[in-house]
């Protein structure tokens, strides 16, 4: 363990603002600027900015002449709560089965053999 720590170059390890990070941040800012500009434009022109899926689903509802509701529908933030709880336990279960799902590292296997 100590040998592997010795091998880390502190100078190289702290250079996180590398080319990849800069490109990703630039792309993110360009997309966010586009979203903010579009939002501002749509707000200024009193556009609803609803989802196209919703628009077409509502158009289809006019044909069926009946309202449609999600099969499972939770009010307000209860939906976010349910999503978080499910993610939390899914994460614990996947973590518990991690090696079974994705195998063990070769180094760990070699160490196990040596022991």
């Amino acid at each position: 363990m100590s040998a592997s720590i010795d091998r880390i170059d502190p100078a190289a390890d702290t250079r996180f603002f590398d080319g990849y990070t800069r490109v990703m941040l630039s792309v993110m800012f360009v997309i966010l600027m586009f979203i903010f500009a579009s939002g501002k434009y749509m707000s200024a022109h009193k556009m609803e900015a609803t989802g196209t899926d919703d628009k077409v689903n509502n158009l289809a509802t006019q044909v069926t002449r009946g309202e449609h509701h999600p099969f499972i529908d939770l009010p307000g933030d209860a939906q976010v709560g349910a999503f978080s709880i499910a993610n939390f336990f899914a994460g614990l279960i996947v973590g518990h089965h991690w090696t079974r799902l994705f195998g063990t590292r070769k180094v760990a296997r070699d160490e196990e053999k040596d022991a």
Binding site: H45, D53, T64, G66, E67, F83, F102
Partner: protein
């Protein structure tokens, strides 16, 4: 393309479930076979699944039409993890989006999987393969695949709605009515998806070509 519960008839929902199952089963076998060959395929597949989940839930505003829509990401997934594996990914993604985001529906997972994971992804994949076989450059093949795959997803969604709801109106007319509901917003996003597909494949090729083993016909293409 996320059709919600209560719009399609139960018969239509069952039909689309059956049609999607025909592609999901070979997808599961494809995943098992690839994992036997390469264990690293499994976490890679999981990450691609996460990417499809995020991309297909990412609503981008289109100021020209005053509404928002999302790209699909399934053509890219089909190219890098395999066409049938991407069907399985789509089914899982649509299940989670329906249950936890209220996006789409439980009864319509079959229909939504068919439009996004099968029609869109396989059309894009076949175009990619065809154009690469004709020695087209990566940017052209990936761009056309991303563009057409995205639009095909929405066209098939419109067809699914029309097939179930056209009544006395001719099927293709109703299909075009629904498609024209999607198209004005979706065309700019399909172009964006084309650019995104090219950018991701180019980035993977330059940084991690090992992840594209068997994807490119020629090394360094």
């Amino acid at each position: 393309m996320h059709i919600e519960d209560g719009i399609l008839s139960p018969q239509a929902c069952a039909t689309w479930y059956a049609a999607a199952t025909v592609f999901v089963v070979p997808g599961i076998y494809e995943i098992k076979r690839r994992i036997r060959d390469n264990l690293a395929y499994k976490p890679f597949l999981a990450m691609v699944g996460v990417a499809v989940f995020v991309i297909s839930a990412m609503h981008l505003p289109v100021p020209v039409t005053g509404s928002c829509s999302h790209p699909c990401g399934t053509t890219l997934a089909a190219i890098i993890v395999g066409p049938f594996a991407s069907v399985v990914i789509s089914a899982i993604v649509l299940f989670f989006q329906a249950v936890f985001l209220g996006h789409g529906g439980i009864t319509t997972i079959g229909a939504n999987t068919f439009s996004m994971g099968i029609a869109g992804a396989l059309t894009g994949y076949l175009l990619w393969k065809g154009l690469r076989a004709l020695h087209c450059p990566l940017w052209l093949a990936a761009g056309v695949a991303g563009l057409v795959g995205d639009l095909m997803t929405y066209f098939v969604s419109a067809f699914e709605l029309a097939w179930s709801l056209h009544g006395n109106v001719p099927l293709w007319r109703q299909c075009l009515i629904f498609f024209m509901g999607y198209a004005p917003t979706q065309v700019p996003l399909a172009i964006a998806e084309a650019v995104f597909t090219v950018a991701v494949l180019q980035a993977m090729l330059s940084r991690r070509p090992d992840l594209l083993r068997g994807v490119l016909a020629k090394k360094g293409a």
